[in-house]
Every structure is written in C-alpha cells, then in structure tokens.
Subunit: 246 residues, 2 copies
C-alpha cells in the first residue's frame, strides 16, 4: 500500500502535514467539551500547534470550519441511519424503531457533530452542500416512512409519508435536544430518553393504525416478521408501549 507516500506527506510533511484535518479534529473535541458557542478558532489552532492565523489558509473563517464539521456530521448521520434502517429488515416497524434509536444514539455519542448540526445556529440553507447533506440524511427517514405508509392497514386512510417523516423527526429531535444531551439531560425522568422516544413512536404508530404489539423493553424473540394481517381489530396492545414502573 502507499504507506510510504502517506508517511512522507502526512508526518514528515513540510510545515504541518495536514493541518486541515488536525483542525477539524481539534474543533470536534473542543465543541464536544464546551459547545459550539464556546469553541474558539484560536484554541483549535493552539491545539494543533500552529499560530492563530494558520487556520485561515484552510477555512475562510470560523463559520466555515463549523460548517465543515456539520457537513461531516450529516454524512455520518446519514450513514448511521442507513445502517439502522437496513432497508426495512427484518420488518418495517422494527427497522423503523431502530432508526429512532440510532437518532438518539448519534445525538448522545457524537455530541460535537450533533451540536454543530442542530444547535450551533449556523444557517443550514446558506450552504448548498450542507443543505444537500442534511437532506440526504432526512431522506433516510423519509424513505422509511414511505415504506411504512405503504403498509397502512387496509380500510384506513393512508397517511402522507412526508408528514410521518416530519413527525418522527420532530419527536427524535425533541427528545434528543430536551432530554438526551448536556445540561437539560439532568432533568429527572421516569424513563430513559431511549425508552421515552420508543414509547412515543409506538403510540404514534398505533395512532396511525399500525400493529405495534411488541413491548419495547422486552427482548422478544422476534415472532414471524410482520405477518401482514389486517390487525384492525382492537388496535390496543395488551401491555401498552410504556414499561411497567419497575
């Protein structure tokens, strides 16, 4: 492999090697630590061992660095949602809920990305590339909603997939941003953010007439993957989507 060339460029490199990447990594750490508002360009430069002016060779200004991080964040976000969706396997509802959990997991595990993407206040629509990346991520949710909507029980009006996608997104974002991160996460909750979102989505899907007769925390041994039966019977699962107050 071309390790040699890499080593000569990256490590032995002239002034720094790959300052751009170093700055992105440094910024990522700083944002995770102090939030997008607290992060400073100068700090990132210091952390990379260069002067305060050096970053301007790679980013027009501080905002462009932030945008780059958000962009990367949306790409990773999309990748994780795609993996979670897994093209609707083993069944649409299960996969759909997995997407919800992946959303929360991303918010929790990648606070810096999430912060840059959703809480930094940078104008997403000002940067076309950023907006496109954001849309690609959303499209995963949208595609999943599309598949779900197609499964709407017969006899019920088919819900618009776009609306469902927006609803799910707002739930996931609401839970993530209110209860799953930073200081706000310290509110004492009767259940974990994951359980909260899962119950919320299940109740919502039930409201649309979908069969959701699995109990969330129960690691049920996967019964026949979505027998496409009508299920328009009672619609009320025996346990309710919220866990027992253990």
């Amino acid at each position: 492999m071309s390790w040699r060339k890499e080593t000569r460029r990256a490590e032995r490199g002239y002034h720094h090697g790959n300052l751009k990447e170093a700055l992105l990594q440094a910024a990522l750490g700083l944002i995770a630590e102090k939030g997008a508002a607290g992060f400073t360009f100068a700090d990132a430069a210091r952390m990379a061992g260069v002067s305060a002016a050096a970053p301007y060779r790679h980013f027009r200004d501080r905002d462009e660095l932030l945008s780059s991080i958000a962009q990367r964040g949306f790409e990773q976000f999309e990748a994780r949602l795609t993996a979670a969706w897994d093209d609707g396997r083993p069944d649409t509802v299960t996969a759909f809920e997995r997407v919800g959990r992946a959303y929360l997991a991303f918010a929790r595990e990648e606070p810096a990305f999430y912060n840059a993407m959703f809480e930094s206040g940078l104008p997403v629509d000002a940067n076309p590339a950023l907006q496109a990346a954001s849309e690609r991520a959303f499209n995963i949710i949208r595609a999943a909603a599309e598949r779900l909507a197609a499964l709407a029980p017969p006899g019920t009006p088919r819900p618009p997939a776009m609306m469902m996608a927006l609803h799910i997104w707002s739930m996931a974002h609401g839970v993530a941003s209110l209860f799953s991160r930073g200081d706000a996460a310290r509110r004492k909750l009767p259940m974990s953010p994951d359980e909260l979102l899962e119950a919320e989505v299940l109740i919502y899907l039930r409201g649309l007439g979908f069969p959701t007769d699995r109990r969330p925390p129960a690691k049920s041994a996967e019964p026949p993957p979505v027998p496409p039966e009508a299920s328009s019977g009672s619609g009320v699962p025996p346990g309710g989507p919220w866990g027992k107050p253990k």
Copy 2:
C-alpha cells in the same frame, strides 16, 4: 398624573433611571435579531446609552443577563400555557391541543425568549430560580396530561401522565425548533408547523385510545364534553388528523 411619584420611584435611579430594565429590553431586541450567541453585552450597553462597564452594576456578567431573560421567558411562557389550557375548557382534548398551539405561538412570536430559554446553551440547572421557573412552565403541560390521562378510555391501560407530558413537550419542542424558527423554518413543508404539530398530537392521542374524531380546523360545536364511550371499536376516525391537501 402621577408623573412625579413615578419619576421619584421608578426613575429613582440616578444617572440613567432604570438601566437594568433598559438593558433587558435591549438584549431582548438583540437576541431576537442575531441570536443569543451573537448578542453582545457591549452592544446592549451602547443601545442603552451607557458605557460598556455600566451593565456590571446590574448583572454579574453576560450570562446573568441571559439567565434573567430566560427566567422572564419561562414566566411568560407559563402564563401563556396557563391561559391556553384554561383549566381544560371547554373539553380536555380541545384545551390540550390549544396548549400545543400556544407552545408554537410562543416560539414564533417570542423568538428572543425562546432562544434564551432553549437554545442559548445556558445551564438551566445551575440557577435554582431558573430551574424552578422552567419547572412551573412544564407543570402546566404535566397537569393537562394528568387530566387527559384520567380520561383514558376504560378497558385500556392508563398511560402515565408524566410520560404523556414529556412526549407532548418533545413534540412541541421538536417542531418548534426544527420547523418553526429561524433558518431551519425555511425547509419547504407540506403543511404549516401548527398543522404539523396538531396532526402529530392527534395521532398520538389516538394511539393512546382517546377519541379524536374532530377534524383539526373544524370548529365543531362541542358535543357533550368527552362522551366516555369505549371507542375501542375501530379507533380510526373517518377523516384522519391530517388535512386534505387543499
């Protein structure tokens, strides 16, 4: 008129009169305009016509000004939610939805407050007074959820009110923060944020087994306030909570 007395009491202030209030107002305007992150202490001072050091006679630092605004925001928020809830009149479900709309209306009409309260990244739990104000506001939603939970149709497990409250809050916050404010609001949506949230809440409530057979924009003449019928029949209202693509 009581000009005199007013002058002596309110403007009892020395040089400026009531700089504290002036600073709060100035900050409010600046935050609405440029966001909590963009707002500067010096700018507020300038706007009030005093030196950059003057504000420190009234606020320990910039963060304390922000906290004061958030505090005030929570108080107004609570007042508006209380008015919207109107103790559950004319019926619980209608009042509940009105609370949701009030939430969005506040986010839209008071961007500065909303920003300081939920998007400024200030540690709510670090300031006891702030946390208390925040809790008082949430308690309105909680109380409404309590009343709603008590109406749960017989034969279905009663949903925990706290969970319902958290769900509703996350929906409202999610919609507000993704679609109803600032730059993100420019995403092209198939429906208004208000309609989006209303449909979301209706579907959710239906998922819990509540009768929600009113079409959102229809000003139905209030049939017997919440007829406690089973409703576990089909559970699927004729119209669906989403509007026709008019």
